[in-house]
Symmetry: C2
Subunit: 219 residues, 2 copies
Amino acid sequence: MTEHRYSETERAAVYRAIYERRDMRHFLPDPIASDVLRRLLEAAHHAPSVGFMQPWRFIRITSNALRGQIHALVEQERVRTAKALHEREDEFMKLKVEGILDCAVVLVAALSDRREKAVFGRRTMPDMDLASLACAIQNIWLAARAEGLGMGWVSLFEPEELKRLLAMPEGSQPAAILCLGHVERFYEKPMLEQEQWAERMPLDDLLFEDRWNSRADPV
Amino acid sequence: MTEHRYSETERAAVYRAIYERRDMRHFLPDPIASDVLRRLLEAAHHAPSVGFMQPWRFIRITSNALRGQIHALVEQERVRTAKALHEREDEFMKLKVEGILDCAVVLVAALSDRREKAVFGRRTMPDMDLASLACAIQNIWLAARAEGLGMGWVSLFEPEELKRLLAMPEGSQPAAILCLGHVERFYEKPMLEQEQWAERMPLDDLLFEDRWNSRADPV
């Protein structure tokens, strides 16, 4: 039953990317080679999608003025989020949560408009299109790590305001501001773990058997 | 600027998993070794999550009776989806859309209850938790491919009925029935492409520059 299994080296490489991928907020200014960026976008486009609907769209931000406006939008939401966190407001404001102005490439990842007809796998759960887009973004993330590039996923923004900035049509929906670039070093652990914002939960607390909260035998 | 880049072999392995991963619906009955299943779940748990909230929970289905009930739920939704597809009803009914009764392991992937307090990255877009769960599922998918295992993501079900079957609390939310197992062969292309349900779109149609529908220079 091992005929389809990758070699030990290949398997280790896949797990290496999974374990070393980080949500980066610190970047170097060096550019990304266009063939590398193309490979990342091709990797995104080979993600799974519900009913093969391929709902993903990517808007590359090339205008510095626009990049500044996007950054301002995020900064506004950062302050609002801090207030919504009440007793953790100060702690949150000390975190670096994005590298929009520093990274080499900013991409906005979005869902296409006119998705209503795609009911395959979405009749009862229409948000499966967002799940597909997230898989595409995870492909970019892992491929970028293998290419030696960092990526950050910023979701601190008012989607309607970002839509207006990018002339996005009704029915479309931005899900991520992706910051891509070279980095001096990758964080050893998730930055929010390093900064003691949150701890990794024990895996066994997240696994159940046949019904919710029934502790699974350790797999 | 290449110091963080993986070796050529490692990079090729990451892309290989990305390109060879398939949404599988045909399985062999052979069991999955428990250490392999554990590695897949650890890979899931090392996905990114918004505000490091780790919203994912996995319920392994060990009862055959329960597996049968889940299959019946999916079969019910398959028929309803077919009707909602109108002129494509017959074409849809001929597709194999799941392998729940045949695969080695069935996992239900879900969002935890009590997610309201996690506003970091979710104040304006609360569904970023589903995006995190999808990244975790994509990690399983890629790791499984490297291990030589197939996976299928089934989203044809009424979430409220699946919640009742698994005694899931209010506020939790199932997102996927994951079928995992050995396979005779992986599809050469996505099954829905092979069966001519849909075609892969040209990547350049999905890439814009600075504003929606502005055709990007080919990256």
